[in-house]
């Protein structure tokens, strides 16, 4: 029996007067590879952000390894949407990956160790960016940028990796490379992948969740896809 890693109970989230999530219930188990789908504005990114503590809950609770609101129980890696990050910031690829080695403390004269550098290089090699390590991030393509962001999360050695549309604004060949990389990672790690590319992930994820402010359908990927997109939807929650 898999361990419940994160449990969301009646989670609601508001941005001002706009409701982004409403009474959402979902349990993420260790080893899950979950695809989160849904139309624009359905709360997919907010779903990721409430788990990470980046968006405040207006109602409900989140349990991390059965402990209420205790985010530090789980190491979480995060790959944001490419448009959420300043791609022209003056920083090198290696420096970005190294930031994943930081912890919660703010230390005077903080320096990375030689082991941190070795590990960062190993992560860059894993995502195929070892030759780009000294380049400035402004010189990277969209696909390379996202691979770098994945490397930054991997160096944290996370229990769960949350990716918010990692293939958006990326060319087709890079999309395929990124999705293949995520598939490989899913063998050893719990993964939550927000995406619009349902066709590309449907065969790889072990669970698909269709969101529209709350979970409309969850379970077998093929069935959820059919329920969500190929039938007229009555939008009652369904576990398939």
């Amino acid at each position: 029996m898999s361990v419940p890693l994160i449990r969301l109970e009646n989670v609601s989230c508001m941005y001002g007067k706009i409701s982004a999530l409403k009474n959402l219930n979902l349990t993420i188990y260790e080893g899950d590879y979950i695809g989160i789908i849904g139309p624009n504005g359905s709360g997919k990114s907010t779903f990721v952000k409430v788990i990470l503590g980046l968006a405040k809950l207006s109602e409900g609770s989140i349990y991390y390894l059965d402990q209420l609101n205790c985010r530090k129980k789980i190491k979480m890696g995060y790959v944001p949407q490419i448009s959420d990050v300043n791609r022209y910031f003056p920083i090198s690829v290696l420096e970005v990956v190294l930031t994943g080695k930081m912890d919660s403390s703010i230390k005077p004269f903080f320096k990375y160790t030689s082991n941190d550098y070795i590990e960062a290089f190993r992560m860059l090699k894993m995502v195929g960016l070892e030759e780009q390590k000294d380049r400035q991030i402004s010189e990277l393509s969209g696909g390379e940028f996202q691979k770098m962001m994945i490397a930054r999360s991997l160096i944290m050695n996370p229990d769960i990796l949350l990716l918010d549309e990692p293939t958006a604004m990326v060319d087709v060949s890079s999309q395929r490379q990124i999705l293949n990389l995520i598939r490989k990672l899913s063998k050893n790690m719990t993964i939550i992948l927000v995406t619009h590319q349902i066709q590309d992930i449907i065969k790889h994820v072990n669970k698909l969740v269709y969101l529209e402010k709350n979970v409309i359908a969850e379970g077998n990927p093929e069935e959820v896809y059919k329920y969500a997109y190929l039938k007229p939807v009555n939008h009652r929650r369904k576990t398939i």
């Binding site: 990470l52 979480m76 990050v85 300043n86 910031f89 003056p90 930031t99 930081m102 703010i106 903080f110």
Partner: protein, 277 residues
Amino acid sequence: MIKAILEYQFLQYAIIAAFMASIVSGLISVIIVEKKLVMMTGGIAHTSYGGVGLSFLVGFQPIVGAFLFSIMAALGISFINNKLTGIKDIVIAMFWSLGMALGVLFVGMTPGYPPNIQSYLFGNILSVTGFDLILMAVLTVIVVVVIVIFFQDWKAHLFDQEFTKVLRKKTKIMENVLLILIAITVVVLIRVVGIILVIALLSVPAATSSLLTSKLHLRMIYSSLFSLFFILTGLFISYLTDYSSGAIIVFVGITTYVLIWWAKIRSAKISIKKARA
């Protein structure tokens, strides 16, 4: 001019002030440009005029009044913006105009002859006093120490604030400290270029250095050097011509930016031509 520098205390003060202003504007302008806080900085600077006016009315050092109002503006804009998301521009505009309005009212209410506010609005590095220098020195040390000691944390925070939040760093504290540093920098620069022109010294040096390097620490160093060049050149021309030093500093800065930008474009075109040939 060297003889005059050795002879006149006001020139010595001006040069010391130029060095301090260059260091803080170099460090902070890069952050302001990268975090896209230029308009917010303008709001903080203009709000400080209320403090200058109040100091004339009540009778204390104008730079202290500017300091208090700048800090209140920085934290006030941030607080209201966090509570009511999506109205940042409006909040900045309100602080901006309220600060100026209060300044005008306080100056109008000050009994006796109207005080000389020109040097606070448009800057006059040649009128820097001993007290100004002491305050500038203390504030410069605070800015340098906070930025240099926690440089790696600032770098991570400036690149991707959300990620530092995921790392559970105290991002709210960092954000507020950053705003206070900006407010402090505004105060240091007010005597040099004035409230109205301060925005130039907090954007042009960083913009100019960004044309030459894409490394954060080098940008900060180049930006400080550019700032020093702008201020000293402005000071020199102002001393010779008796025109407003603040205005000349801004003019030198923007002219330098345009020249470097033009040279960069030109060298890129030449390289392309050579590569084709």
